[in-house]
Amino acid sequence: MSDVTDLPAPQGDPTEGPAIALRGLGKRFGDLIAVKGIDLDVPRGSFFGLVGPNGAGKTTTLSMVTGLLRPDAGQAFVLGRDVWDDPVAAKRLIGVLPDGLKLFDRLTGLQLITYAGLLRGMSRELASERAAELVAALGLGDAQGKLVVDYSAGMTKKVTLASALVHAPRVLVLDEPFEAVDPISAATIRRILSGFVESGGTVVLSSHVMDLVERICTHVAVISDGLVLAAGELDDVRGDRSLEERFVDLVGGSTEVVGLSWLRTSSD
């Protein structure tokens, strides 16, 4: 735990200030401690990237923030509302895109987005109007009447994102939003998210593509093995190097390749 104590304590009162505040958040699965008591502040209006190697605990952490996974220790606040004490108020403020969970895929794309809106208690007129707008903005217009089960991976991501946006949340929590998305769609999504941040919203996304995080995020946190290794503004975290170098440095894995000499053509 010594890595954690080196970090400055999170700034501000957890019930005001930050868009998302985690205090001692921890989760254990049997013998495996997936998240080891994380403290983290996500400032309002930031575009926050959560990076870490596979199995670092990114998805587990985000699931505990969005109410999908009950933490074993600690608290998570969304704009001051405790997600696990006052879930209704907290959930109203977040839009969620989880990774690796199924959808109600026997609905059409348009139906799914409208359904998400109706579940949020929106009127049908408003929900369907926004669903139509989102479908157009995300370039799903041709596929809006197709069942989601027939969508490609990238289209599925986009329709999930639309479902997360339909109730106009203040904070977006996105787990791997760019995975399997083609470059053009990725650019569209990026523009939508940037616009959302410019108008005062907050975006938290996880990714293991450093280039992408470096290009679009204002803040970043590096998670490895269930701990926050570094967090803050992008420039502070990466210093004068690239985020990737800093990341490898922090996480401490070696990128040296051992063996595999037979793979080198010069050995012929």
């Binding site: 969005t66 109410g67 999908l68 996974l69 009950r70 879930p87 209704v88 959930k91 109203r92 977040i94 969620v96 989880p98 969970l101 199924k102 959808l103 109600f104 895929d105 026997r106 609905l107 059409t108 348009l110 139906q111 409208t114 359904y115 998400a116 109706l118 579940l119 949020r120 208690g121 009127s123 049908r124 007129e125 929900a127 369907s128 139509a132 809006q144 009447g145 197709k146 069942l147 089960v149 027939d150 479902s163």
Partner: protein, 523 residues
Amino acid sequence: MVAHLVRLKLTLLRNIFRRSRAQAIGAVVGIVYFAVFVAGLAVILASLRGSLDAARVVIPLAGAAGIVLWTVVPLFSFGSDPTLDPGRFATFAVPHRELAIGLVAAALVGLPAIASMVLSAGVVVAWSHTVASTAVAVVATAVGLLTAITTSRWVSAIMTHAISSRRGRDVIAVLGLLLLVVIGPAISVVANLGAGLRDLATTAAQVVSWSPLGWAWAAPGDVAAGDPGTGLVRLALAAGLLVLVFLQWSKVLRAEVDNPRAVSRSDSGASAGDDLGLLARLPGTPLGAVAARVLTYWRRDPRFQISMAMTPVVPLALLVPFYTGDVPWTPLLMGPLVAFLLGWSEHNAVAYESDALWLHIVSGTSGRDDRRGRLLPDVLLAAVLVPVYVVVGVAVADRWDLLPAALGLSVSLLGAGYAVSSVMSVVMPYPVPESGESPFNAPPGAAGITIAAQSMASIGTLALASPTILLAWLAWQGSPAAVWAAGVVGVLLGGLVGVAGVGVGARLYERRAPELLSALRRS
């Protein structure tokens, strides 16, 4: 080319024995066991030589059954042999005709074909009364066997096409289940015939002998019985059928080889673009949305279509003992049975959506909306089916005096079922076939919990309705007071238990939704 394909198939066959020693021994034991069985059947068929009349009944029926089995069995148990899947030859420039012949020849090398040939030999022996009948038998049996194999390839190819689209898969799965549902009653009808069985078989054999399935198998019998004209007509028809099936198979093969993905691309099965479907027709509230979504699933997901198709049919089975065995009370239970099924069937409702439940959780959907919305479509269905079956049952049994008791028992069972289901679908979800899988696919390793949960749901439902069950029984025993007591108590108890159970389920859902999601992800 034909030789190549046959050699390929022989290699595949030999490779059965080239896996691990245990598998090889298993294969040998299986083949020996199977061989003894087939040889026994062949001897029985051959022994029909002693009675031409019996042979003319049995062999056409058995042959027709053989063609049907050849066609149907590969679709359900083994799938079509993927190694010789026509689509795989798309990248090779093989002439269609040769490929068509070659694939049938390759199928002739398989174990099922060898078994069929042994049985066919028995058939030829059974017909060997005269030289002419033997000659016709050799030709006709060969034609019959080839027809079976070619039909099998043809239908498999069509199905492979159909299966590559989701809509096609769904249709096949539902057809398969309907087939299974029909088999049960068919067997019981045949079993009940008893003495009539012989007449039925004779009639059926006559019909089948003139159907495409039976032409080849009946032709030698005609010759042996001294009617060579009819025999030759049937033989000609059988040969024509073989040519026709082969041409069809060749055509499908050609389409598949030329354009292997033609079918899988064209798929949608959805409504017009901007149509919200049922979401636009039910109230625009969370509760209405959940109900509309469940109803949409009933329409689009074969796993639900099957229970939708079964539930209204099952109570009809109660009419069988009434009409055949003079059991006077079974029709009275039609209403209660359909009510029980409707309430009970919801006890694992959440598992069918797998972890898509996350959307409800992140939306902060209240337990009440989730539970009630899920039950609403079922309640609507019950509002139609239960009264209809209660009245029909009472009318059939002609016991209008027991109408209140039957109604009370039904409502009580329905409410108890909803209560148990609302709680159990939160507390104890168990694995079910994934959406898009065949509804007959049982998830591996889930048999134990499935049986346990289903028994618990049944026992729980009956226990919560037990006061009404007792009163209804007293009513049947002839107590006039109990008739009305069962009616009043049943309706009140059903309503109360149902509302209370759904309330408990809603609170449990709100407390345990994340745990429920974890359980669904594991299963």
